[in-house]
Structure formats: C-alpha cells, structure tokens
C-alpha cells in the first residue's frame, strides 16, 4: 500500500491535486461526473489510470484526502487539541463545517485529519470501544489507555489503513497534560506538541520553536499558560490558513483541564 506513498500526509491521493506525481489523480476533481473527462481519464476522484503497460484501464481508488489540520499542545496541567473544520475535495470545498474532533472522555480528546469517511468510521468504532471499556471496567478510559487503544485500532487495519492522521491530547492519571502524534497505521509518540494533516509542515516547526524552544539556544524554557497556548494556536491556524488551501473556515479549540473539556471556536478566512 505504501508503494503509493499513501501513508504520508499530503501524499498524492485522488482528491488532492498533486501534479508532480505521474499516474496519480491530477488537476480538477470532477465530482461524480464519471465518463466525462475527455483527455485525462484520471480526472475524477476515485479513478486512476493504470500506469502499467497493456490496455488502458481505470480502476477505483479507495482513498481520498479531505485535508485539514489537527494539532495538540500539552502544558502544565492542561492540554489543547484543535482542528479546522474545512472539508476539502480537490479544488472544491463541499462543506465548511465538518468537525474532526472526538471527545473521548472528559480528559481525552482526539482530532483526525485525512479522509473524512475513514475518520468517521474510526471515531464511531472508538466511541463503541469506549462504551465497552466503561461497561467492563466501570471507569473512564485514561489518556494512556486511550492512546494505546487508538494505536491498536489503527494497526488492525495495517494492510488497508485508515487514511487518517491523528493527534490525541489530554490529561493523564497524574494530572499532567500530554499530546500523542500518530501515523496512519498506529506508530505513535508521546510529545508535548504535535501537528498533523495538510498544515503539518507549516505549523509543526512553529510548535517546535515556541513550545519546545528548539533553535532558541540559551533561551530559558518557559511553560506557556493555557491562554498563551490558545493564542499561539490561533496564530498557527491563521498562518496555515493563509498558505494551505485545505485549511480554513473555522477552528475548534478544545481546552482540556482537570475540570473537563471547554470548546471554543474561531473563524478563519473562507477563501
């Protein structure tokens, strides 16, 4: 599967224009106007021309990238998880307000970018597993447990992966805030700040610099307050929205503290 480079965010998957990848879907995504394209048989979501020799064949490609940026930033006793709400498809925006966030418990929040259909299924399955956990163990799932379960669930689809790029954030058993970053098949890392999705390349370096104080030689590491973190996240999304066409419309920001999850929303440019 990864021969197609599917597992990297921003890799060429039909639905996203990726002109540099020969053979993959390019240019306009013509929605469901099947059989319409005159020159390029690949100009539809879900259809790709075979590059192998032999008769020209078109076949269904089961992956699609709906874009979106998700991030999680942990701080002293809190964690902030945020995502934009744009649903992108090719050069179109079928909807401006589709949530990518799943509140797993009062202390754990998940945000997933990538393919919306896979995200939806992953979230539904997770929700089911959370209920089952609650019923068997008579308690809410901890951040650590949730992070491992997400990894396991992604890995069950190792050979037909969920095309989702997840970040998980929350408060652990000790009251500390943590963020977890994942790839599509469940590899994960416990960090203090992570960003995934189409805006990853724009935002992650900023988080490295501002949260982890990377490249700030000799500068004292300061713990950001919740307010300062939220402010940084707003700026990060505003900037990503400026340069990434798949990020925009609205941002949902979930502030997770010991008192629960508080969601705020702010608008990005609709262009």
């Amino acid at each position: 599967m990864d021969a197609l480079g599917l597992l990297r965010p921003g890799a060429s998957v039909s639905g996203l224009p990726a002109a540099h990848t020969p053979g993959a879907a390019t240019g306009f995504a013509l929605g469901d106007h099947a059989g319409r394209a005159q020159a390029a048989p690949a100009a539809e979501p879900g259809v790709v021309a075979s590059t192998a020799s032999g008769p020209l064949q078109r076949r269904f490609q089961p992956y699609q990238n709906n874009g979106g940026t998700v991030l999680a930033v942990a701080g002293k006793g809190f964690c902030v998880v945020a995502s934009d709400t744009r649903l992108g498809l090719g050069y179109s925006i079928p909807s401006r307000k589709v949530s990518r966030i799943l509140k797993m418990t009062d202390k754990v929040v998940l945000a997933s970018s990538g393919m919306q259909a896979d995200m939806l299924t992953l979230h539904k399955t997770l929700r089911m597993r959370l209920v089952q956990y609650q019923q068997t163990h008579q308690k809410h799932m901890s951040l650590t447990a949730a992070s491992q379960m997400l990894s396991n669930m992604l890995y069950t689809r190792r050979f037909f992966p969920y095309y989702t790029f997840n970040v998980l954030g929350g408060i652990d058993e000790n009251g500390e805030g943590w963020a977890y970053g994942y790839d599509a098949i469940g590899s994960h890392e416990k960090v203090s700040a992570v960003c995934s999705g189409t805006g990853q390349t724009l935002i992650q370096p900023v988080l490295d610099n501002q949260i982890e104080f990377k490249q700030q030689w000799g500068a004292p590491k300061v713990d950001l307050s919740l307010e300062a973190t939220v402010e940084l996240i707003r700026d990060a999304f505003t900037s990503a929205g400026e340069r990434d066409i798949y990020t925009g419309d609205f941002v949902e920001i979930c502030k997770i503290t010991k008192d629960g999850v508080d969601v705020e929303e702010f608008q990005l440019k609709l262009d």
Partner: protein, 250 residues
Amino acid sequence: MSGLRLTEGSRGLAASVAVEGAPLTRTQVPYVTGSSVLGMKCADGVVIACDTMASYGTLARFKSLSRMHQVSPNCILGVGGDYSDFQQLQTMVDAEMTAQYVANDGLTLSPKAIHSFLARHMYHRRCKVDPLWNTVIVAGFDKGEGVLSLVDLFGTAFSSDVLATGFGLHLGLPLLRNAHRPDITVAEAKGVLEDILKVLFYRDARTNDVVQLASVTAAGVEIGKMTKLKTEWGYKSFVEGARVGDDSSW
C-alpha cells in the same frame, strides 16, 4: 475518453467476473451517469433539485429520468453518479425500510438514521473496492427541523445548510451559499434552486433543461413534476462571445 471507447476498453469489468489467473475485478467505472443534485435547508423545510438526464459518456442517453427517490413519509434522496448503482441503492434502501415495517412496531428510520445507514453501506462497499458510484443527498424533515446530508461513494458523510454534488459542486455551491439565509422559505429556495439549475444547464454539458424539484416540510414529501426550464439564449455575450473588458469570461 468517449463513451464508446470507455465501454470497449472496459468490457468485462462491469460484472464481478473472475478471469483465470487474473484478480477478481468488479464495477470500477460508472457508465450511465446523472449529474448535479442541489439542496438547501430552509426555515420551514428542505428543498432539493436535480435535472433529469442520464449520460452515457458524452451521449445524452436518457432525458427524462427521475434521480429522486422517496424513502419514507419524511425523507427523500437525490442521487448523482451511476444510474444503475442508484437503482441498486433504491432496492437496498427499500428493502431496509420494509425490514423496519415488518417489525410491526410502528417505528421506522428517521432521516438522520437513513443518512447514517447509507453512509455505513457506502463505506462498506468502498472497503470492498466495489463502490456504489453515487453521491447521495438525503433530505428530510424530523422533529420540526429540516435534515440535509450527503453521502458519497467513499462513505464521506456530513450535513450542511447547502449541498451540491457533481458539477454543481463547482458552479452551484457558491451560488447556493450566497443565496442561503437561515430564514429562507421553501418557496423562495425553490426559485433559487431553479435559477442555479439554469446556470448548470448553460454551462454543464451533462445537464438538461428538464428539471425536478422536491421539498420535505412538516406536511411531508412533495416531489414536483418534471418541468422544462425557461431559458434565454439571446444574451449579447452568448451570441457574440467574450470581448476584452467584459465582466464575464464569455
């Protein structure tokens, strides 16, 4: 690729045929296809609209087919994409509704449940790499509120105040977004949707001028008759083409 070449090149792919030595292939290509569906949520209900053509490649193969399907007393579908897959979908949804009916407890599926059910079904098929090649708009009215949701061949599913599929995603959606107000009425929205269908007819070669509008309100489903759009071809730019300095690209 023309419709004719398309069929020649893909012969044998249409059905689930196992060729010895080759992997099992399934329907990988849509054949007879419907174009846009438009939808708008209103204060007093939901309106959806579509034209009535089904194309075979570039051929206008069928010119008065309905692309709407009533599922329940308060829910309809508007469907674009492969027409045979649409008919398969109708059979499947009807079977599900019958299964609900024969439970004999007076309960049936709400529009929201129908949307979810369709999304699960479409996602299941895409996971089998055997999709139903459609984009489906679900329009309903439940508990005093309009329901307007979309499902596509990948299982992508969401709800929105305005929706458009096919070419309408490009030409129709911006117009729908401009026209939408939370207090817009069904009657008003019908006019808007008809205007947008006209735009699509002018610009989308896979859309014809015989259209169908449907609404779902507290009073139930009303699927309108197929009506011919009143078109105007005498615009200066239509006749003379675009000039430098024109506002539009014509």
